[in-house]
Amino acid sequence: MEVPRIWRLKKQRYALQGEVCPHCQVKIFPPRDVCPECGGEAKTPFSFSGQGEVYSYTLISNAPAGFEEQAPYTVAMVKLNEGPLVTAQLTDLGDEPVRIGMPVEMVTRKIRNDGDERGMIVYGYKFRPVMAK
């Protein structure tokens, strides 16, 4: 059971909430309270737009425990428009082939069950191809 950890990480997982460094203005994700650029204290919350592009990706066929039911699925490194690189599942790809540079947007989805279906449902960020207006 990971209930306290899931609870502690909810803001970053549900809504890509990170931090902005008050000294050098670098945007930080995941939040770590110390700026990876200038080493200064950085505790100011910053909500990322959720827009970005695929930096690299891979297809997961042999999924780790808790993710078996979703395999095969694509995991990507997504370069957020604000700078940071995050690792996340891609979803709702349909028939669209994934490509490096593909514009994607954040959506909040079910990530897995904590344990079995008696455990809590873990929600978090995934990315999908930007939807056409």
């Binding site: 549900y14 979803t91 349909g94 929600y123 207006k133």
Partner: protein, 362 residues
């Protein structure tokens, strides 16, 4: 004379109209990507036609009422031009809340950045849970208790394999932010609700699939309640079908809303923009509400819209909504309902079973 009899009561009829005028300040839809054609269900169960819809929307493996409500709520916030900080309620109406005990509303609220100072209980009234929450939101804002309340009607509806409802039980819905009239994209002029104990459809605790009363779901249930609610709101306001630009009803299939529309004097043109069941199926708590979002995507200033929902068990909420000037420029701030409908990946029955969790994995 008892003390409480001295409290002055305003003279009023049957309409629900708050003291402070309210309206829809933001709206957003959500339809999942996957579509299951009715003829694909028919292929499995040996039916060859006469289907109630063309196809239905199916939630993906990683979607549920909470994730879909989050996206619809985010769309509503984009159009509302308010910060999530200003919300005083986040209410989700559904008959497929992911948890039996633990509110959907708190997760949705956290994800959209709503503050801790909110009401967040879940609503349930079969297919009218969302519109029931909408009436409550009118009361909350209209009494001055809070400026803004977000309500969602959302479902990942259950249909027993092989049952008539399997063709229509779909996933999707909509969210609305109710707020004061001066910031509204559309005013809510009045509402009226009509309910009775009518056992047309139900699901007992721990049961996976609902039961229904076959043809009993028509005359004494859907038609009686939708017609009574709509006719009462007509009578109390003096309006008639010809006064409206559009009408949207709960849509368990294609025929029911078309028939009630005709009975009430509406033309097929008034009904068509909000009639989404043929292409997305019956989204239960979301059905009438997402139909309204499709109308708001095209309505012009001054257009009157009738929305009448229906929930089994049974009851109808009827609303008179009037489009306001800011609607035209604000609606482009989020994806339209038709944008979601156009995003379509067809699936077969086996994939449908997998996405619905019907395949035993261990």
């Amino acid at each position: 004379m008892k003390q409480d009899q001295q409290v002055p009561q305003p003279e009023k009829g049957k309409l629900l109209q708050p003291k402070i005028k309210v309206g829809i300040v933001g709206y957003g839809a959500y339809v999942p990507r996957y579509r299951l054609p009715a003829k694909e269900i028919g292929r499995i169960w040996g039916n060859q036609g006469g289907y109630p819809v063309k196809e239905k929307a199916v939630a993906g493996l990683d979607e549920d009422v909470i994730t879909m409500s989050i996206e619809a709520a985010r769309n509503a916030l984009k159009r509302a031009d308010i910060s999530a900080d200003e919300l005083r309620a986040v209410w989700v109406g559904s008959e497929s809340h992911p948890y039996a005990v633990k509110p959907s509303g708190t997760v949705v609220a956290e994800a959209i950045g709503a503050p801790n100072d909110i009401q967040a209980g879940d609503w349930e009234f079969a297919c009218k849970a969302g519109t029931e929450a909408m009436v409550a939101a009118m009361g909350m804002v209209g009494s001055g208790m809070g400026d803004y309340a977000l309500v969602a009607g959302m479902d990942t509806a259950q249909g027993k394999p092989g049952d008539a409802l399997e063709y229509t039980a779909a996933s999707g819905g909509a969210a609305f932010i109710i707020g004061p009239l001066n910031s509204a994209l559309a005013s809510i002029e009045a509402s009226y609700s009509y309910v009775s104990d009518t056992p047309d459809f139900w699901r007992r605790e721990y049961q996976v699939y609902p039961e229904h009363g076959q043809r009993f779901t028509g005359e004494p249930a859907y038609f009686e309640h939708v017609e009574s609610a709509s006719r009462t709101i007509f009578a109390e306001t003096g309006l008639k079908a010809q006064d409206f630009a559009y009408a949207v009803f709960h849509q368990p299939n294609t025929k029911f809303p078309q028939r009630i529309g005709k009975t009430l004097g509406f033309t097929p043109e008034q009904i068509a923009p909000g009639l989404l069941a043929p292409v997305i199926g019956n989204t239960y708590s979301g059905a009438a509400m997402i139909g309204l979002t499709a109308i708001l995507d095209i309505a012009e200033e001054g257009d009157l819209i009738l929305m009448t929902s229906y929930g089994s068990g049974a009851g109808s909420d009827s609303f008179i909504i009037k489009a306001r000037k800011p609607l035209a420029q604000r609606r482009a701030k989020a994806l339209s309902t038709q944008d979601y409908i156009a995003r379509r990946t067809q699936i077969d029955y086996a994939t449908y079973l997998r996405y619905r969790g019907e395949i035993r994995m261990r």
